[in-house]
Every structure is written in structure tokens, then in C-alpha cells.
Symmetry: C2
Subunit: 337 residues, 2 copies
DNA sequence: CGAGGTTACTCACACGTGTGAGTGAAACGT
DNA sequence: ACGTTTCACTCACACGTGTGAGTAACCTCG
């Protein structure tokens, strides 16, 4: 490899070294069908380009083509779960399938989207959770389409919430409790899951589940709050025998709460989470949970991006791959006497 | 807000609307000290710019200035922990402190760094784990400095490994076991932690800890493997009474393994993890662990970036904030008879 | 009243690409 | 032999910005 006095090589450097014009270099390296070149020239330019380790300057290319090839995923500063990583992986592949690159940006108190849009001109902005009004406004002003992943995720959440109920019903449980959260950040997820669980219960002819909402993170105070609620719900002639939890963290909270008031899981109460966290299979008892599959989501977003950015056909409502029950120890079949 | 026939507004649009030259717009909006403008003109240009929602085109700006303002964090496709999210947050702030933006890129089978470098011309490439040789070579060829976060992280890992041993020693434990992993992906972390733990044990005059290495993920087979090793180590006249685990996941594996051979945690064996996963405080028993603090790492990376990119003074070896023991139920004081 | 300085701007170039239009030479068809 | 097509390439513009150099009008001062 030869460097041209420290600077990175440009197309002009390649052209000079190969003894052709800069246009020739551009045409050959971009493989146009309209222009023809002799095999020798093509080979020579390719060789020189490799030799100089020529890489086109992304900014210049973006400026000329009018599109940056970058899709930005803006994520608010929310604790990242393994599930989220899976989603990012699926989105990365989806964006790559449209010949673009997905970059992820963490929106933080000191790092507003506004600041970063000065450095990055994405072709589209992806949001999982609703972004601050200010930020979406800025994107719209810069005529950057804001695409939300919310609706496919919502469908997954609905499927997951329903699946929790359906699985417990299949095990013979009729009186269910639902442990949801009131945290604003994850509100979109929790409402979808809750609503779907309620609907599923109604569809199955079950009595309306008892809902308890926890504010704040899954810590000691959450455990005592859940324990208090649980004591109430498991008393009486028709006690709750199973609990659908917002996610595995709160399922673990529920397990701890049940223990603290002398209930055995799963003998006295079955508990099912959502997310299939890596630790879920290592808890005592191991946690029955719902595992998401984002391949359908990825395919949907790919089609949507093609539609919005490349003028492709309108994205069809791809049937997203259904979440899946991972059966473990925290749920048990209820033997009706 | 007024749009100029669909297109996003350029500096020329602002200039025309304000009745000044394009240079004037550029000077005013960038606030140069060399040029002076009448207050009226400044106000008018500012107003028009706001009215047209003018945002400078990032690619054009990058092309002209010769620097993109983007620092790229390339992460291999490794399960994301909450800890990793904390690191990304710290790095995001560090990069922002140098007036640049940190974008994260997931390196995947279908999404090679090479492909994305065509779309993104970062000013620097950050790596946590060593990138594929091919990728670093490409970055170097494009004269993009590759900056590794490995060394500050290594110091944290060393501190954490030592802390595990020191904490257990302070509780009266002398015969320690170490549960490490042989997974190549996380090899840098595991070797640092292991080496530091060994050194710490030697410094404290403890017998050399017994090391068991697990291959593969923290699943059922890992539990049986650890159980087998644990049975051996806890036998005999001088049994192991405490275990330092690679992370919280493997600490949970160790707890399950101990249970499976009839050992009580922490009565028969103390177990300490690393990472302080959200679920760690919800396990039964709750997990004693080491929590990382990345503020020092962030400061160090900020100085390093300033040095490499802005020619600032050489980065000093900032004393990174020490990790911290989170004492919970899985460890107990050993009463010597 | 003219030299020199300040104020408020504008001109014009460069950054590195991609691409439609053009061009000279060779090959081809009649 | 001559018009026409094909081949292999080059010219020149445009994308939108930042900035050093220039410039006309106005003010200051001896």
C-alpha cells in the first residue's frame, strides 16, 4: 500500500497514478452500465485503487448523491435489555438490506438529537419509543422522515400479553392477576401488553384479571408493594392462582414478593414473565416467559424503508413471527378438584 | 415555517430571503469573531433561518471542514448487558464533550464495518472488543484512527477481580474458587479479572485459588459442569468456601450448581458476581456483586479523543473511579472456630 | 481635505464525488 | 468512399458549505 503524502487517497490520486481521468475512475469503481472501458484499463484502475487503499469520501458522496446512506436509530436513555439488542440486530439487517447503514444514537441529557443532526444527516430517523416533541420537530424541519417501529412492536406486545393469558388458561388457571408498570418511559409497551391480556381473558371466558400497577424500578420497595397486593388477591374463596408480569424483572419481583408472604412458586401461584432474559433460566424457580422474535419486525421495517426512501411499493402488513412461550418451573398445571 | 418548494432550505435560500449574500448567512450563523455585521442584519438572518427551519447539510459541512464530527463505536454482535449500556452512555457523553457525536454500529454477519464505512466517514473508530483484522485494516487504510477502550476497561476489570477476592478475604474466607469462562469473545475481560484475582489472593497471603473455566453460555450444561467441579472443590479437609464468578450470570449458574449438589448459599459457600445486573438483587439469594463506574473511563476517553483528534495534550492516566462491592445475601462472614 | 482606519459586507475558491453530455478514433455497413 | 454506429474515454457541472481575501462606503484625525 502506498500513501499519498499522509492524506487519504482521493479518486484524483487514483486517476493520476493510473494515467486516466478522474471520471474514468469513478465510472469503473461504481460499475456503470452506460459506459464501457477496456479490460486493461479496468484492471489497472482497480489495481491502483487497491494499492492506494482508496475509499470514497463518504461526505462527498453523500453530498453529490443527495442521500447519506445513514439511517439513525435514536434511543432514549433506557436500560438496555438483551431483547433490545436483538431488536437492534434485526433493524441493522433490515437497513443493510436497503443498502444503507444503521447507526444508533443514545439520546441523553447532554446529547440531544438536535446537536447530532448537525453532524449526521440521516435519510431517515427510526424511533422505538416516542422521541421528545422538540426532536421530531427538528427532524421534520430538516425533511427527514421519522419512522416509528412502534406499530410492529405493539403487535408483538399484544401477542405476548395474550400468550401469557392463553398459556395460563391452558394450564387450567382461571383467576389471573396482572402485574403491570406505570413508568412513563415504557408506557407504550405496558399498555399494549395489558390490553391484550385483558382481551384474551375475556375471549377465553375468564373472569376479568386483577391488575396491579407498580411505579418505579424493580427494587425492594416494588417487592413490598407487590407483596401487599398479592396478599389481598390470594385471599378469599376465589384466589388468584397465576400472575402475568410486565417482564422478567417484575416476574422476579413477584417471585420474591410471593416468597415473602409465604407463598410457594409455582405450588401456590404460577408466574410468567416476558423477555426471556439470560438470567431467567437461572432463577430459582426458573422462570416461564415469552421470547420475542424480531425477524418479522425486521422484514416489515425493510419494506417500509424501501417504500419511504426508494419509492417502492407500499409496505404490506407482514405477518410478524409470533412470540413463543418458554415453559419453565415458575408455572404449573392447576389440578381442579 | 415556510418551505422552499419541498426541498429542505439551504444557506442560499436563507440568503435570498434575507437579501444578503450566502457568505453573510454562513458567517452570522457560525458566529465568527473576524467578521462584523450590523445588529439588524444579524437579527434578520437569524429570523429568516428560523423561519425556513434552516439546518446546514451535514455532508456538505463535513466535506468542507474536512471532518465529519462523527465518532463511530463499532460493537461486535455480543449480548448487550445493562453494564454495556452504561458504558455507551459514558462514551456518548465523552464524545459530546469534544463537540462530536457518537454513533454506534452493530457489526453483524450481514453488516460488515467495511460496508458502513462507505456511508459513514467517522473521525475516529472506537472499539471495546478487538475488531476483526480486516475491519481495523480498512479503517487504518482510510486513515481513521482506531481507538481502543480496552485499556481503561482492563483496569476496571482488574480492580473488580481484585475486589472480589479482597471482599471475600475480609469476610474471613481463605480457600477461594474462581469461575471463569473460556469464551473467546469475552476473553479480554475474563483474563484481566482472573489475573487480578490471582494476584490479589497472593498479595493477601491466601492459597492459590482453584480455577474452573466454563465453555459456552450460562445454561443447563454449564450448571452441571460447575456442579461437578464444585463437588470436587468442596470436599476434603480444606474445602473452598467462596467463589468469585466471571459475572452475575455465571454467579447464578454457580448458585444453581451449588443447590444441585446440596450446598446452601451462603451457608456452605459464598458467591460473588460482577456487573450488578438488574436481576441480581432479585435472585434468591440476592447476589453480592461488583458494580462498575464508567465516569473515569469516560473522562479518560474524552482526553484521549481531544489528544488524537484535536491535538490536545497527551491524555493523562486518569485514576478511574473504582468499582464498588454491592453486598447482598449470597456472601456471608466465615466464623473461624 | 486627504491619508488611514473601521464597518459591513460580498467574491470566489475548495472540499471529493457522480454523471449527462461530448469527442476523437476505430469499426462497420452499403 | 462515406455516413453511421460503436468504443473508450474525458469535460465540466453541481451538490452545500466555510473562509481568506477583497471592496465600497463611512468615519476619524492631523
Amino acid at each position: 500500500m502506498v500513501t499519498v503524502n499522509g492524506r487519504r487517497a482521493t479518486a484524483a490520486d487514483v486517476a493520476a497514478a493510473a494515467g486516466v481521468s478522474r471520471s474514468t475512475v469513478s465510472y469503473i469503481l461504481n460499475g456503470s452500465d452506460q459506459q464501457t472501458f477496456s479490460p486493461q484499463t479496468v484492471a489497472r484502475v482497480r489495481a491502483v485503487a487497491a494499492d492506494l487503499a482508496y475509499t470514497p469520501h463518504a461526505a462527498a458522496r453523500a453530498l453529490r448523491k443527495g442521500q447519506s446512506g445513514i439511517v439513525l436509530l435514536a434511543v432514549p436513555d433506557v436500560p438496555a435489555s438483551a431483547n433490545f439488542a436483538k431488536l437492534v440486530a434485526a433493524l441493522t439487517d433490515a437497513v443493510r438490506a436497503t443498502n444503507r447503514s444503521l447507526a444508533t444514537l443514545a439520546i441523553r441529557p447532554g446529547n440531544r438529537l438536535l446537536d447530532s443532526l448537525r453532524d449526521i444527516s440521516p435519510q431517515a430517523l427510526l424511533e422505538v419509543l416516542p422521541l421528545p416533541e422538540e426532536d421530531t420537530a427538528a427532524a421534520v424541519a430538516a425533511s427527514i422522515p421519522v419512522i416509528s417501529v412502534a406499530s410492529p412492536i405493539e403487535r408483538l406486545d399484544e401477542a405476548a400479553g395474550a400468550l401469557q393469558v392463553q398459556h395460563l388458561a391452558a394450564l387450567g388457571h382461571r383467576r389471573l392477576g396482572i402485574l403491570t408498570v406505570s413508568d412513563l418511559q415504557v408506557r407504550p409497551f405496558s399498555t399494549s401488553r395489558l390490553a391484550a391480556a385483558r382481551t384474551a381473558a375475556a375471549d377465553l371466558g375468564l373472569p376479568a384479571p386483577d391488575v396491579m400497577a407498580v411505579a418505579g424500578p424493580p427494587d425492594e420497595s416494588a417487592i413490598t408493594a407487590v407483596a401487599r397486593a398479592l396478599r389481598r388477591l390470594t385471599k378469599g374463596p376465589d384466589p388468584v392462582t397465576a400472575l402475568c408480569c410486565f417482564n422478567d424483572l417484575f416476574a422476579a419481583v413477584a417471585v420474591a414478593a410471593a416468597r415473602s408472604i409465604g407463598l410457594d412458586v409455582p405450588r401456590d401461584i404460577s408466574i410468567v414473565g416476558i423477555d426471556d432474559e439470560p438470567l431467567a433460566g437461572l432463577l430459582g424457580p426458573t422462570l416461564t416467559t415469552i421470547r420475542y422474535d424480531y425477524t418479522g419486525t425486521g422484514a416489515h421495517m425493510r419494506d417500509l424503508l424501501r417504500h419511504v426512501l426508494d419509492g417502492g411499493p407500499a409496505a404490506t402488513e407482514t405477518s410478524s413471527d409470533a412470540p413463543q412461550v418458554i415453559e419453565r418451573e415458575s408455572t404449573r398445571r392447576l389440578d381442579h378438584e
